[in-house]
Symmetry: C2
């Protein structure tokens, strides 16, 4: 077990930056990695732009134990992620026999022709290892400490299953959440600060919330989250958090 592990997530695609699509991959990757002790410490979203992708993946690969990218590995002209990864790590890239064999088997079942566009999905950087795609066949790949996944959340989730055994996690971060209603952050800030000062191994977060009540009025409150490696300690803290309300 590694003492301190961190991951970065790189979301690739104009559609997230434009606001057209609300990303779901950051959350599902974080939730997938949490039980194996790999916290996500940074995420970036970049557009479908080669230099932006190359620069981001180099910086994140150097800064974190593992990096997960999503998006840009399909058959269309705007799918440039594989070429960017090859460039970022100084590798050659071409159609690879192992990836092509997967596509041939997959498309033979549906009697689908492997067009030049579909062949693009067998372009894999030299030395990368493939990641199985149980949903639509076309594989992702791992290059150094970077795991290149599809952008469609269902496919990315499927690919994570083939990645988990390649990861070495650290101590698991547990969390206890207490939802207080009818209080404001300012009401509980001092007491929460004291609690945080008394427990340096625990990270305390405070998140105000607002929602509409059934009568049309506004409800408000604060969600308190305590995070740390010692699950028993967190459970001991739960009543103290509840008592702040």
């Amino acid at each position: 077990m590694k003492p301190d592990v961190s991951a970065g997530v790189l979301l690739i695609g104009d559609e997230i930056l434009s606001g057209r699509t609300r990303d779901a991959n950051l959350q599902q990757i974080a939730e997938f990695l949490q039980p194996i002790g790999i916290p996500v410490r940074e995420a970036r979203v970049v557009s479908d732009d080669s230099s932006a992708i190359v620069e981001a993946v180099r910086a994140m690969s150097a800064a974190h134990d593992y990096v997960f990218t999503t998006g840009g590995i399909g058959p269309t002209h705007d799918d440039i992620t594989a070429d960017c990864m090859a460039e970022a790590f100084g590798r050659a890239i071409d159609v690879r026999a192992d990836a092509l064999a997967i596509l041939e088997t997959w498309y033979a079942r549906s009697e689908t022709e492997i067009t030049p566009a579909r062949l693009r999905m067998a372009r894999i950087p030299e030395g990368a290892s493939l990641i199985a795609n149980p949903v639509t066949g076309a594989p992702g790949f791992q290059i150094e400490n970077v795991f290149v996944l599809a952008g469609v959340p269902k496919i990315a989730r499927g690919m994570l299953e083939d990645v988990v055994h390649r990861l070495e996690g650290g101590p698991v971060t547990h969390a206890v959440t207490v939802r207080l209603e009818g209080v404001r952050e300012g009401d509980i800030a001092e007491a929460l600060g004291v609690l945080a000062g008394d427990h340096h191994s625990v990270s305390f977060g405070s998140y105000p919330w607002f929602e509409e009540a059934p009568d049309g009025g506004l409800r408000r409150g604060v969600a308190l989250v305590a995070r740390g490696h010692d699950a028993a300690l967190l459970e001991q803290l739960r009543p103290q958090l509840e008592a702040l309300g």
Copy 2:
């Protein structure tokens, strides 16, 4: 009008990286900026960590015309964004009379005491200009080209209204979306590539989708998005995109 404008969005907070909260601010900021001609070109999510925040805001402030941060400006111990912004730009920070006056007026209405914790929300870097908060009073602020907003989406949205007149946009990016059903990306990739090659002023994106049909089966298709400054041209392209289905 500026010829080429870009914005970055910096989301600050452990709760997004941990997967506990799915971010809504990137999407709403992008949707707010689109009609005024400011495309979001990069987003980053960092944890509640001073050095990570300082490093990210410096890099993004240098790379983009405008940067929008969300989160970390409340009254609790984990709200460190204002101090990080002061550090990033080499400014002093203390309770400022203009911000304190806003809090005093706001809290007087609800007969709420201004505790030392609430006073933290009047800590504003030297030379920054305030951003009105119509929801809960405590202001955000602008420092150089960085707009520091609250993390609660409703509050961040309210603050944007006080920011819009400080921004100089470029040409508006329009988008046309066509949703095709029953086709796969590989079926239309060649034709889409030809269309993209014929129209270099337009950016074409292709996004596969999957959803459950009412009979429990799986539906699939591709959403095609054409983006560019010439709305009339995009409308001319719409039937050509539909014809790919």
